[in-house]
Amino acid sequence: MKKILKPILITIFSLLFLLIATVSFALWFVFTPERISPVIRNQADKLLTSQTEIGRVELTFFSTFPNFGLRVDSILLINPFENAQSDTLLSIGRFTGVVDMAALIRRNEIMLSGFKLENGNINAFFNADGISNLDIMVNDTLDQVTEQKEATDLFVDLGKVELKNVNITYVDDLLEMKGALKNVDARITGTIKNNDVSSSLNLTKSTVSFEYGGEKYLDNAFVIIDFPAQVNLGNQKINFQDALLSINGMDIALSGFVEMDTMSGDIITDLDYNFQSWPINGLLAMVPPSYQSYLVGIEVDGLLSSMGKIAGIYNDSVMPLMDLQLLFDQGTFTYAEYPIPLKDMSADVKIYTDLTNDSLSYVTIHSFKTQTPKSSFATRGDVKNLFNDMKISLDSDADLVLDEFNMLIPDSLKVIMKGRLNGKVQSDFAMSHIDAMAIEKMKLSGNLLARNMDVTYDSIWLKTHNTRLNFNLPFKGVNNPLANFAKSEVTTEYLEAGKPGDYYALLQNAQFLLETSDARDTTRIPDLFCSFSLESLLAETDSMFVSVLNPKGNLTLAPVAGRPLEPQIHLVYNSDELMAGMAGDSVSVKRLATNTNIINDQSQTDIFLQWLARGFIDMEEGVITTTALNLPIQIPAIKMDFEPERLDIHDGRMIIDKSDFELSGYIKNLLSYARGDSILKGELQFNSKITDVMQLMDLTSGIGYEDSTEVADNKMPADETEISSPEEKTVASDTTYSDPYMVPKGIDIVLNTNVKSASLGVDTATNIIGALRINDGILLLDDINFATEAARMNITAMYRTPRKNHLFLGLDYHMYDIEIERLLQMIPDIDTLMPMLRSFRGKGEFHLAIQTNLDSTYNIKQSTLLGASSITGQNLVLMDGETFSEIAKTLRFSKRAENVVDSLSAEFTIFRKEIDIYPFLIVMDRYKAIVAGRHNFDLTFNYHISVVDSPLPVKLGLDIKGDLDDWTVRPVMPKYAQFYRPASRRAVENRQLELRRLIRETLINRPDTDDQIPE
């Protein structure tokens, strides 16, 4: 093997030596610069029209191995043009061309298969007429070449063109473009075969500047280009694969083709591109100066990557379809006007569009994330209908530390926020919805969570923690099918708000659910459902407060059928302890439940009539404290149904001080009463163990009254002016009087009482059973039976209050087994009416019918006093010893006789200041006497006693006159015969019974439509 190899190697090296020696000889002795340079210069003069200066030309081999090369030390082409950047078209320090040796040897033509330009300048210029300084070729030459090429199949091998450290400038006054490539190191290769051009541009080192329309778009940008291309000149199609373009380090890879449709003029593209990690600040650095103003104050950075495809036809009306994927990472953003810096911005966005058709175009945001120093935000979604009415669908997450955003709020708003708000929001809307605020066409949903939130607006503050808001818009109503606009749910651990010195509110562990129709529709009341559940609620203002434990319920709001602007409300509510207070009044309730329907009627003028309610209330252990009452009202329980016209009390219990009431029954005509169409009617069972009557009267006094001045004025007689005596009084305004008990007006309430014990001042009555009726200013105790310590009693009483200073009191007493002494203690006024009763002690039977008017302080108006009375008794003791002694002495009583009246039966009438004692029989000792006379309220008296049966042999009479301090007893002839029975005896009682029945019938048997009782 070695033996064979050795001669071969010797042969090869010999041939190489021979070849080198031959070439060296040719280069140094045959193709010397002195021979070649003139040839080149002659060729240039033939081909070029510009001034040409070509330096030393020499043939090279070793530096262009394996080809021979032609090296020119300098080339200068001068083609002066007006406005051109330079007269020099080309200035090259060294030109090296690869020589086609066959053409040189055979035809003595120097043809280059490639060339290299080093250390030079090229200045291309097009003037405003489109004429270029590049146009330096002799036309005949070009035509000859073209004709030669057209005559046969064209094949051109551009060989390799290299530029090294060449500066190229380009000025086009027609297109207003300027460009400059500095320090160009480039390699260009290519072949042309008929219409097919295969080329490759490799620009490895250069800086580029570009100006268009006076705007500088690139300024010394570092450029790298690796652009292999296949061009079909016939189709005007350029095809390239794995092309690389880099500007300032931002690389973009391109593959595909661009084709010009020569028939239609369309440009057909199918390009794939890809670039990675472009620095945003690098891109912004390339923003033309005139646009830099938009970036003042903005500092943005990050890495932008993209890949995609641009395919389709481009013409005046059609754009190619672009399928772009944009990736943004490590982004930061600061803006002087937006003092919150953004960081860690990233985005993954797909853009699919032909820039024309909404049906094809969309943007998909796979993700967009960013952070502030304390907060973060992310969204994803898509955008459709890009060119007409953009439709946006986003799914966003946010975690916001509110403190950061205070600096965004103008100081003038005086808003300070603290805390954290995070959550998700889904949105689906069109830009037209935003413009028109057409919320009903949007889809919005999400949930937000506020933690440790503290917001202050001026002096108003709000604090909350763990407050969650879920919302959906639109929403198909579940609890109210028509409440289909929006739904929101709020849960909060606590929420408190307030304004110092004005109000304060606190909600703890609260839940709200709200479903509503579009509340912006001003043509109708919205359909709304709201349920709520709170552990506690506290609200205070400077004048009122309310505190509730465990309020729960729901509220439904809807328009009234046929009246869309008038709401109807359904409220279901129950709570544990409720306390409320205002202006010294307070209410507390241990448990409260209600189910209420409220209907609004705006045709009514009275606010009370505008809101008609029906439902029930169930309340336990309530306490009402009001400044109007000295004592709180305790309400152990109330259960009642209510509706506009009727109140049904199933269980109503109240305690006031020592009094307790248990009410059941109904009250009707509520609405009619409020309208003034009817009086309030009702019948209630009134049970009580202990009742303080005075307190009850205080509670009800004055309802339905106005100052009676007008009424009194209307009632003035026509001849009132005739009453002109100076001592006469005129009717004054009610306000000048004290406040007596005024019986409620406009109501007709019957209380069927069953009171075990009732106190009236110092008196106490037990087992009171009967009806108490309040009828339009009249209080009627109708046939009430009760017992006191002094007597069993039956009473019918009427108290009427036409005006404050003219009250009416009528009494019909029937007392059985009455202790006269106790009677006087119980009803001291009896002593005034019948002072002679003070003279007796013991039990009797007492009947009294009396009426009078009272002034505002309950003083009797004596001019109106009328009465009739009957009293009977057995074994009464005459108490007045002095009187008895004087009478006994005159009548010669037995000394053994006691001052005991065996029997007494008498009638009295009262008229103003006069008490007339009708003749009655008194039996005492061995005497029977008829007594009659008059007793006056000034305590003067005038009695006559006729002794009708005595041991005396003569009939005797006595006249007793005077007053208690000065009176005389004078024997006279008796006025009355034995067994005299006054005609009026018992007549009082009979008439009382008869007329009382008449009163009852006029009160009770009146038609419902006319409940007024005539005064």
Partner: protein, 120 residues
């Protein structure tokens, strides 16, 4: 005996004469009573229907608020009957001593007199 007869005869004649004069003096024209009468602040009003009312303006009582009564004038006996609203009646009987167009006077059984002037 004759003296005794004269005495009885004189008494009889005197009685007749006296009785006759008493009857004429105790009759009064009822029509004079109709109208409004006043004594100080006390008023009485008599109507032809046999009803009337009384009030005292010193007690802040107006005519409309006056106590109603029925009245009869029989000879010199003037009877007022007051009916209480809850029943019972209170009769008051007076003996008229003077009744003219402008003046009314009467007294009761206890010698109390009343004097009124007509309110024109």
């Amino acid at each position: 005996m004759k003296k005794l007869l004269y005495l009885f005869a004189s008494i009889f004649v005197f009685s007749l004469v006296f009785t006759s004069c008493e009857t004429e003096e105790g009759s009064f024209n009822e029509a004079f009573l109709i109208g409004k009468w006043k004594s100080g602040t006390l008023y009485y009003k008599y109507q032809a229907t046999g009803t009337g009312s009384t009030w005292d303006t010193a007690d802040d009582v107006t005519e409309e608020e006056g106590l109603p009564f029925t009245w009869t004038l029989s000879g010199a006996e003037l009877e007022h009957i007051y009916i209480l609203e809850l029943g019972a009646t209170v009769p008051k009987v007076y003996t008229v001593t003077k009744l003219t167009l402008t003046s009314l006077e009467y007294e009761d059984d206890f010698g109390q007199t009343f004097s009124f002037s007509k309110v024109l």
